[in-house]
């Protein structure tokens, strides 16, 4: 089998399992909450109007944003209540997806109630049914097909939206899609999409069977549908046999780009070799990753000094590399108990880059040169760059103004500069594509862009484990920028692509040399 396909298929069972559990739990909560809410709303206009408006409003928030919002909200709640709620992973994903499932369930529930024949209700009352008997014997059986249709809609939405749970550290089929998009591993993307679509279709078909069973009073349909659904969820709930030894599982974080996947695999390999049980949380946003570490939701990940300096400490100055690293080590420890173990040996700075020919033609070698011609040029950036303090700092320092600036997924950002839709891009200095696409990075004579040494961070709890720290120490200073670029390129290039795991193995061969 194709190695990329084999790799994706190997990851599939665990992710599918996680996907079923998170979307199943969210749907269950959506039903348990939405159902009484629908009955209440159907009975009272004063409840109905705000409830339907709220559920509709939730739907208008993009699922990605909704998921991301619950991370900081849970952190605030955790501080306020003093209960150690997990703010990353299952809980925020569960809350956001449950809210998402609510609208179709509530709306159809209300419709089911309101479309009941008044004569049937009068007959039920006239026969001497109590409110509860009327609900159980008449209203529910008659409204069931409409209500089940709402649950079907909610199920399909939830399974689709659950792919986004990856961004708040809850594993799902989205892991395949996000990491595949990042590394241009289309097979991986396809496996993720197909699995998610197939899951949605199967669940929809089973719910349709249950719906038909209720509508036609066909018991076998009802029980087969229900049985298969319960069996599926039951299978997903059986804990995976990982064969790990006893003890706590170390959670390794990774942001959403190739280098981070590779480094997470490197860390993973080292920790496993040292006898630790590990799991990875990939595709974390920059802001989420550090907070997750500070909160103890993840134990170790790689971040970059400049990012920490500007985003975590909120500093606008750009001191020299050594001073910045020393200050960060002190402050992060004091503030959050986070230990900065040290640099990995390379820098992954934000840099502005252009195609070599284009830069030469325009006579641009530095950002200062660029500022003069920028009003005629188009800038392509990754999703984060334009909202980061580094951009404001460099734009202010040089008075940069572009004709147009547009944010891309990193992969497409490089495409944009190749096909000429952009002239300048926000590159990462360790990106292998700088060399392979023959780009030049522009110098920064005013030192407006801070240092971005890759550093290894561990959580307060992990820092207290000498065996863990000892297993990670050999990585410090062991990865030079050329080797990192090479490893990144192995994953990012279009031909002879390797998986992050293969690149990690390659990267580790000479490590400890």
């Amino acid at each position: 089998m194709n190695p990329a396909l084999a790799d994706a298929m190997a990851a599939l069972p665990a992710l599918l399992r996680a996907h079923v559990v998170i979307s199943g739990a969210a749907l269950a909560i959506g039903v348990l909450v939405g159902f009484p809410l629908a009955l209440w709303a159907a009975a009272s206009r004063r409840v109905r109007v705000p409830v339907l408006a709220f559920a509709g409003l939730v739907q208008t928030v993009p699922a990605l944003a909704l998921l991301a919002l619950f991370y900081p909200m849970l952190l605030v709640v955790r501080q306020a209540v003093g209960v150690p709620l997990p703010a990353l992973g299952f809980l925020p994903a569960l809350i956001a997806l449950s809210l998402y499932a609510l609208l179709p369930i509530v709306r159809n529930g209300v419709v089911a109630q309101q479309s009941l024949d008044p004569a049937v209700i009068e007959a039920a009352d006239g026969a001497g049914m109590t409110r509860r008997q009327r609900l159980l014997l008449v209203e529910l059986p008659l409204g069931a097909p409409v209500m089940l249709a709402g649950i079907r809609t909610a199920a399909v939405w939830t399974i689709g939206a659950a792919t986004l749970a990856t961004t708040v550290g809850q594993p799902s089929l989205g892991n395949l899609i996000f990491s595949g998009l990042q590394t241009e591993d289309w097979i991986r993307v396809l496996v993720g999409c197909v699995a998610s679509a197939a899951l949605a279709l199967i669940v929809d078909a089973l719910l349709a069977l249950i719906e038909a069973g209720v509508a036609r009073r066909s018991r076998w349909r009802l029980w087969v549908g229900l049985g298969l659904l319960v069996a599926g969820i039951g299978t997903a709930l059986v804990p995976a046999q990982s064969g790990n030894g006893p003890g706590r599982t170390i959670v390794i974080g990774a942001k959403n780009f190739s280098e981070q996947y590779i480094l997470a695999d490197v860390i993973d390999t080292r920790l496993r070799a040292a006898g630790f049980a590990t799991e990875q949380r990939q595709d974390l946003g920059s802001a989420v990753a550090y907070r997750a570490l500070a909160a103890g939701d993840i134990d170790v990940y790689v971040d970059y000094t400049g990012t920490l300096w500007a985003n975590v400490l909120g500093r606008k100055d750009t001191p020299p590399a050594a001073a910045m690293k020393a200050e960060l080590t002190r402050q992060l420890e004091a503030r959050d108990g986070v230990r900065l173990l040290g640099g990995l040996g390379f820098e992954n700075a934000y840099a502005l880059a252009m195609r070599r020919q284009r830069a030469a033609a325009l006579g641009v070698a530095s950002i200062a040169d660029l500022a003069k011609v920028a009003p005629r040029l188009k800038l392509a950036t990754d999703i984060e760059f334009l909202s980061r303090p580094e951009w404001r700092s460099v734009a202010d320092a040089y008075g940069l103004r572009f004709a147009e600036q547009r944010a891309y997924n990193p992969t497409f950002m490089y495409r944009a500069i190749v096909d000429g839709s952009a002239d300048v891009l926000s590159a990462f200095s360790s990106d292998g594509r700088i060399r392979s696409l023959d780009l030049v990075t522009l110098s920064d004579p005013k030192g407006a862009l801070p240092n971005y040494d890759a550093v290894l961070l561990v959580s307060r709890r992990a820092a207290q484990d000498p065996a863990l720290v000892g297993a990670l120490r050999p990585l410090l200073g062991a990865i030079g920028v050329d080797r990192m670029r090479e490893a990144n390129l192995m994953v990012d290039r279009d031909t002879d692509k390797r998986t992050p795991g293969e690149a990690a193995a390659w990267l580790m061969q000479p490590a400890g040399r």
Binding site: V120, A123, D125, G126, A127, G128, M129, Q133, L137, R217
Partner: protein, 259 residues
């Protein structure tokens, strides 16, 4: 009108208004055990409100309703309604249940064992003149007349001595309507029921009931046996209602005489 025999149901001083509009204005009515009373009036006269106040489908503002010696306010509504048969124009068969399940619903609510229910359903189907194999039919697939026979059987299931009927045959075709009316009248006799039936059709009332109470604007303007109602002088509003069948009869007689 004086009540002969023993008093079974007594309504006194019933008042009810909706949003400031008075629908029942101090109505009193005494019903003897075993009698068949028709409440007649035009649309909006308050007759349905009066009927539904008896099984508390509508709660009155003031006045008292005493059923067989007990104030209905002292009985929980659901329990009260299980003791009273209720048949109405909308029929309201439960579409997700079979004919048998519909008929046995009150028995099920009051916890009658399943085998007893089956026997009772068979008996009731016979009473309302439906074939026994109707028991397993889907309630959705019946004709109007069949459906109301099932509705009737459902109301009779708990052996309630009192039947409340709100335009029970109003939506049926004239032949079925006549047939079912006469069938019910004979059930009323054989089962010894007390019946209160709301209708806006004076002919139906005259032909079926022992006694007719005429409601006009929330008050009872006339209350008498059919013959007495026709023979004595009546207020204008009551006369207008009585004119309808009288004219119909005269015209029919004229048509037949001319032949």
């Amino acid at each position: 009108m004086d009540v002969s025999g023993d008093l079974f149901l007594e309504l006194s001083g019933i008042r009810k208004s909706y949003g400031g509009h008075l629908v029942l204005d101090g109505v009193g009515l005494a019903v003897a055990r075993g009698s068949f009373v028709a409440l007649v009036g035009r649309s909006g006269s308050g007759k349905t409100t009066l009927l539904k106040s008896i099984n508390r489908l509508i709660e009155v503002d003031s006045g008292s309703i005493v059923l067989d010696g007990t104030d209905v306010q002292a009985i929980p509504p659901a329990e009260l309604r299980r003791r009273i048969g209720y048949v109405f124009q909308g029929i309201g068969l439960f579409p997700h249940m079979s004919v048998a399940e519909n008929i046995a619903i009150v028995l099920r609510l009051s916890g009658t064992p399943a085998d007893e229910r089956v026997a009772r359903v068979r008996e009731l189907l016979r009473l309302v003149d439906l074939p026994e194999d109707f028991a397993d039919r889907n309630a959705r697939l019946l004709s109007g007349g069949q459906a109301q026979r099932v509705g009737l059987a459902r109301a009779l299931a708990a052996r309630s001595p009192l039947m409340l009927m709100d335009e029970p045959f109003g939506a049926l075709d004239p032949v079925t309507r006549d047939e079912l009316g006469r069938a019910y009248r004979s059930l009323h006799e054989t089962l010894g029921l007390t019946t209160i039936m709301v209708t806006h059709d004076m002919s139906e009332a005259l032909l079926l009931a022992d006694r007719i109470a005429v409601l006009v604007d929330g008050r009872i303007l006339a209350d008498a046996e059919p013959r007495a109602l026709l023979e004595h002088e009546q207020p204008a509003a009551v006369r207008a209602l009585l004119e309808v069948p009288r004219h119909q009869a005269e015209r029919l007689a004229a048509l037949q005489g001319r032949r």
